[in-house]
C-alpha cells in the first residue's frame, strides 16, 4: 500500500460520483484513465455554475457579466501558466484539446518555418495525433518525416535519436508519456540534445499533466500540448504552451473574430499572442472546468497522486506477472501507471468483452498507435491505466477477471 490510508482514498473516490455506479450489476472498475479520467464534482459544478449564473461572452462587452467572465477566463489562463510554470500567461493558448493544440502548432510552425528538404523527427511511440499533423505538413512543404525508433522495452532509442538530429532537422515532436506503453520519455535530455543544434522540441503532453508536476521552463521544451479531459477536467478544452519567440513569428492557425487587430477589405493585422491563435468565441464554460480541475489536483497534491499511482503501477505489474500466459508490453524503466498486456492465445477483443461484462473498463486495440503496434509486431493490446482514485482491490478484481477469461477461452 502507499502511505496514504484507505480512508483518504475512499474520501477522494467520493469526489467522483461516477465511481460509485454499477455496470451490468457489478461495481464499476474504471481502468481506462489514459482514455479519459473521471471528473470530480467541483469540475462539474464549475461548468454548471458558469452557465447558471455567470454566462457572457468574453473580451467583448462593457457590461458587468462580460467583464466578470473575461476576468475568470483570463484567471484560468494564469492558473494554467503557473501549473506548468510557463514564463508568461501569454504563452498559453486555449484549444479544444491536445489534438487541436498539435494541429495548431504543426500547421502554424510549419507554415512559417518549414521548407522543402527539411526534416521533422517524431518517435515510433507516438499517438496518431502527434504523427499525422506533422506528416501532412511535411507533404505540404516537400519536407521529410523521420522516425526515432524504440527499443523492445518501449524506450526511445537515444543513440539513434542523436544520429537523426541533423542540419535539416526543423522540429522534434515527441510525447511526454506513451499512451500505449506508459513510457515516460526523457524530455529534458531530448531538449538538451536538440537545442544543442538549435532545433525546437514539441511535446505531446496529453498523458503528461495528470501524473506529476510539469515545469516547461525546467524542461526547456518549446511547445507543450495538453487535454483537460485527461487531467480530471472537461472534454472539449485543452491548450498549448509555446515559447513567445515562436508564437510571435508563427502564422495564425484559424482566422476570425478575436484574433484580429484591425480589419479593412485591403488588409488585416493580427492581435497579440495568445489571442492571435484564439479565433472565435472560446469554450469559456469548459475553461472554468479546467480551472477547477487544476484546483482539485493542487488540493490533492502531487505527493498523494504520485505515491498512489506508483503503488498501483507496481502492484498491477506484479499481479499481472503472476498470471501464467500474461505478457506485459512495455517495460521501460520510467513508467506512468499505464500497463499494456496480452493474454497468450486470447484475442484482446475477446478478453476485453468479457472483462466489460464483469464491470471492468479497460481499453483494447491499437490505442491510436498503429506504427508502434507494427513495430512491436502485434495488432493490439489490453491496457489498464490507473488513476490515484483506483485501489488495489480493483486490481484484484481485474486479476480475477483475467482468470475467468482464461478459463472461458481455455
Amino acid at each position: 500500500m502507499s502511505d496514504f490510508s484507505a480512508s483518504k482514498i475512499q474520501s477522494v473516490r467520493a469526489d467522483f460520483p461516477i465511481l460509485s455506479r454499477s455496470i451490468y450489476g457489478k461495481p464499476l472498475v474504471y481502468l481506462d484513465n489514459a482514455a479519459t479520467t473521471q471528473k470530480p464534482r467541483s469540475v462539474i459544478e464549475a461548468i454548471s455554475d458558469y452557465y447558471l449564473y455567470d454566462n457572457a461572452n468574453v473580451h467583448r462587452g462593457v457590461h458587468y457579466l462580460s467583464q466578470q467572465a473575461t476576468g475568470a477566463f483570463e484567471d484560468v489562463r494564469k492558473k494554467v501558466a503557473s501549473f506548468v510554470n510557463a514564463g508568461s500567461s501569454n504563452e498559453i493558448i486555449f484549444a479544444r484539446g491536445a489534438t487541436e493544440a498539435i494541429n495548431l502548432a504543426a500547421w502554424s510552425y510549419c507554415e512559417t518555418f518549414l521548407n522543402a528538404g527539411d526534416e521533422i523527427l517524431v518517435s515510433a511511440l507516438e499517438h496518431h495525433s502527434n504523427i499525422v499533423p506533422w506528416q501532412v505538413a511535411c507533404q505540404r512543404k516537400g519536407a521529410h518525416l523521420k522516425v526515432i525508433p524504440v527499443t523492445p522495452e518501449g524506450e526511445l532509442n537515444m543513440g539513434a535519436f542523436a544520429h537523426l538530429l541533423g542540419k535539416n532537422t526543423k522540429m522534434v515532436a515527441v510525447s511526454h508519456i506513451s499512451n500505449t506503453l506508459g513510457t515516460i520519455n526523457p524530455i529534458a535530455e531530448i531538449v538538451e540534445m536538440a537545442h544543442h543544434r538549435d532545433i525546437p522540441v514539441f511535446v505531446d503532453g496529453a498523458q503528461g499533466l495528470s501524473h506529476g508536476p510539469v515545469d516547461v521552463q525546467a524542461l526547456d521544451c518549446d511547445f507543450y500540448a495538453f487535454s483537460a479531459h485527461k487531467m480530471y477536467g472537461p472534454m472539449g478544452i485543452g491548450g498549448l504552451f509555446g515559447k513567445t519567440k515562436w508564437l510571435e513569428k508563427m502564422e495564425p492557425y484559424q482566422l476570425g473574430g478575436e484574433m484580429i487587430d484591425k480589419v479593412t477589405f485591403e488588409k488585416t493585422t493580427y492581435n497579440e499572442i495568445p489571442y492571435k491563435f484564439e479565433a472565435g468565441t472560446p469554450n469559456v464554460a469548459d475553461v472554468m472546468g479546467l480551472g477547477a480541475a487544476i484546483g482539485y489536483l493542487e488540493g490533492l497534491g502531487w505527493d498523494f497522486i504520485k505515491a498512489q499511482e506508483a503503488d498501483l503501477l507496481s502492484y498491477t505489474t506484479a499481479r499481472l506477472q503472476e498470471i501464467e500466459g500474461v505478457k506485459i508490453i512495455g517495460t521501460a524503466s520510467e513508467k506512468a501507471a499505464i500497463v499494456s498486456f496480452l493474454i497468450e492465445g486470447i484475442h484482446f477483443f475477446d478478453a476485453g468483452t468479457i472483462l466489460d461484462h464483469l464491470g471492468i473498463a479497460v481499453r483494447t486495440g491499437n490505442h491510436c498507435t498503429q506504427p508502434l503496434m507494427d513495430f512491436l509486431g502485434i495488432s493490439g493490446t489490453l491496457r489498464a491505466s490507473m488513476s490515484f482514485y483506483n485501489t488495489r482491490q480493483e486490481i484484484d478484481i481485474l486479476v480475477e477477471g483475467i482468470h475467468k477469461v482464461k478459463k472461458l477461452f481455455a
Binding site: D350, I354, G365, N366, S379, G380, L408
Partner: protein, 153 residues
C-alpha cells in the same frame, strides 16, 4: 455441446432462422453462458477457406478483423466469414446462418435487428469497431451487386 439445427439451413427462410437463433439464445439466463455458446460456435465452425482470407475480403475494425467472402450459385448467395477474435467469429457465424443461401432480394429485404433481441446489440454498434457492422453492410452490398448483375445478364 449445445444442439443447433444447421441441417435445415437453406431450407428455412431468413425469419425462420432468426426465430430459431432467438430460441437458442433464450435458453440462457446468464450472459456467461451466452458468450460460452458464441465462443463454442466461433471455435467449432470452419468458416472460410484460407485462400479467401484476402485483403480484398478483409473488413478492418480497430478491435478485430473480419473476412467475408461471397459466392453466387443458382440464384442464391453463399457467404463464408472468419475473424481473428473468437466472439466476433461466433457472431459472424450467426450472421452467416441467417443470410447465407438466400436470394439477393430476400437478403436485401431482411431485418438485421435480431442481435438486439438476443442481447448482442452492442456488438453491432459503430463504437464497438469490431468489423461486424461493416460485415452486415457488406452482406447487403453483395446482395445489391448480385441483384444488379442478375438483371443485366
Amino acid at each position: 455441446m449445445l444442439k443447433r439445427d444447421t441441417k435445415l439451413k437453406g431450407k428455412m427462410t431468413i425469419s425462420e432462422t432468426i426465430n430459431q437463433i432467438i430460441k437458442e439464445f433464450n435458453q440462457f439466463d446468464d450472459w456467461m453462458d451466452k458468450y460460452n455458446y458464441l465462443i463454442e460456435m466461433g471455435r467449432s465452425v470452419p468458416l472460410i477457406d484460407d485462400s479467401r482470407k484476402t485483403d480484398s475480403n478483409l473488413i478492418t475494425g480497430c478491435q478485430s478483423r473480419v473476412w467475408l467472402s461471397s459466392e453466387y450459385k443458382d440464384g442464391l448467395i453463399y457467404f463464408t466469414a472468419d475473424s481473428d477474435a473468437v466472439i466476433t467469429k461466433g457472431i459472424a457465424f450467426l450472421l452467416i446462418r441467417v443470410f447465407s443461401g438466400h436470394t439477393p432480394s430476400e437478403i436485401i429485404e431482411a431485418e438485421t435487428t435480431f442481435l438486439d433481441l438476443i442481447g448482442l446489440k452492442e456488438h453491432l454498434s459503430p463504437t464497438r469497431s469490431n468489423g461486424l457492422l461493416s460485415m452486415v453492410k457488406q452482406i447487403k452490398l453483395y446482395a445489391f451487386a448480385y441483384q444488379i448483375k442478375e438483371k443485366n445478364s
